[in-house]
Subunit: 289 residues, 2 copies
């Protein structure tokens, strides 16, 4: 496995692969890797086959964090990540620096952003107003540096994947966006680097997110008529409130493609939620079927 | 010369060229071509040499026009443009349609924009607040469809060239942006598709833009001390006011790289201005040396 830290070197490799006709699969991450990330790497490998190249990047992108958020606390373990990538069959691990990615951002030397103005409005975009602008900007930049044929994103960040897919299509990047399923712990908790923040007590209560999804599924599947989202939201909020460390940030039912909220929830609708467990903000989502 | 109207076909060609290692030079235009555009084509040819490919695009991009502006009136003559491109040695003329470029924009099907938030703020960006967002968005899109190695822009739109160069660098497009000098009519009027709007009477008065630039040069070159921009602006505004059809929109002195206004104007400073001649808005700029 080759480790690349310079953006210029990364782009030279990308251009060389394109010229050689080598298929490139790309998995952008913020590091502190878990089995969810590794499943994206394996998916990328299957997509480009044995002769293709799999690139993973680790970059904790400052522009997708608000000043009040956990940028500086975000967990990092580069040695472990490097080992995991090597073992998972990553060919190139791209580790760009802030200095190169946003050269001179504090002094007016960086000033371009990519904004998606529709799918990014609700849910995570409502709770974190500058988040998706940071995501679309860094993904566009990484796309131009790695020049992949296909990029793999995780379904746990469903809205992010939808926003990235829309951005890729709108700006005509010659890249296919693939979304791979959420990986879960045995008790159903969606894998996330932020799970590391949880105390043992909080870890036990954190399953409330997937339990809320499970209850919503059960209600929707067993109903012969649509459920009003307001009624269902109240029922799920009450479930979440049974956990003393839990504080609901948002809970939404929506169309999986357009991300538009649905008021009459039926099978096939999506549900997403964000819940603070203590000081740790977790998200999860699922299609109700 | 090949004419391509489909975005998918254009991107297939771009990918094929990249794979073949063919150098591609790109000249994006809004059509109604004049000698200024053709000089950009010749520059692109020199940059990619005989074996390279020169692509010109003609697309009157709706998102860079405000509702009050001249989108529908913008001059078009596709037959003549096609002939001129063929004669100038263009290899591929790309003529995308609104339907493909902004698929479903009116119905929420298009929602991604590229914004540059610093160089785009004053001058044209001040006078036309949504203009540069349209420019950076369409240029990013065209870059992804044509996949050129080098793109050539005209110095007449100095701020546009600076904004595009910044966007290209910030988003790490693997593309070199080249700026070619303004072409002028014999009497000094900068060539522009919008000159077509001028009546004979207005056409005579339109030289006031380049005469103002000439006067500024003369003052700056002959001064042994800096000239205060406010004083110089007044003098130039008075000159422009001598033309009954002329109405000054803005006039600015600035640093050619950062586009920051300068208050003490010395040799090497840039000047740009926008003037309505009757109902036609013209722009021009020069370095004062």
């Amino acid at each position: 496995m080759r480790i690349v830290t310079s953006t210029a070197a990364m782009q030279r490799l990308g251009l060389r692969w394109r010229r050689a006709g080598t298929r490139v699969g790309f998995v952008p991450t913020m590091g502190y890797l878990h089995a969810g990330h590794l499943s994206l790497v394996h998916r990328a490998r299957r997509l480009v086959a044995k002769r293709g190249i799999v690139v993973a990047s680790i970059y904790v992108n400052p522009t997708q964090f608000a000043p009040t958020e956990d940028l500086s606390a975000y967990p990092r373990d580069l040695d472990r990540d490097t080992q995991l990538c090597r073992k998972a069959g990553v060919d190139v691990l791209f580790l760009p620096s802030d200095a190169e990615m946003y050269s001179g951002r504090d002094t007016g030397g960086y000033s371009t952003y990519v904004v998606e103005e529709q799918l990014s409005q609700g849910m995570e975009g409502g709770a974190r107003p500058t988040h998706f602008r940071g995501v679309t900007t860094i993904v566009a930049k990484l796309f131009n540096l790695v020049l992949p044929d296909v990029a793999v994103f995780g379904a746990k960040d469903w809205q992010q994947a939808a926003v990235v897919r829309r951005m890729t299509c709108d700006l005509s990047f010659p890249i296919k966006v693939v979304v791979a399923p959420t990986r879960r712990e045995k008790d159903g908790l969606a894998m996330s680097s932020r799970n590391k923040y949880l105390s043992a007590e909080e870890r036990a209560q954190a399953t409330i997110l997937c339990r809320a999804l499970k209850l919503a599924k059960k209600v929707v599947i067993s109903s012969r008529t649509p459920n009003y989202s307001d009624v269902l939201k109240k029922e799920l909020a009450a479930l979440i409130a049974t956990q003393p460390a839990a504080r609901l940030d948002y809970l939404e039912f929506f169309d999986g493609e357009t991300l538009q909220p649905v008021t009459a929830v039926t099978r096939g609708a999506h549900m997403a939620l964000a819940v603070f467990i203590g000081r740790t903000r977790l998200i999860d989502n699922a299609v109700l079927k």
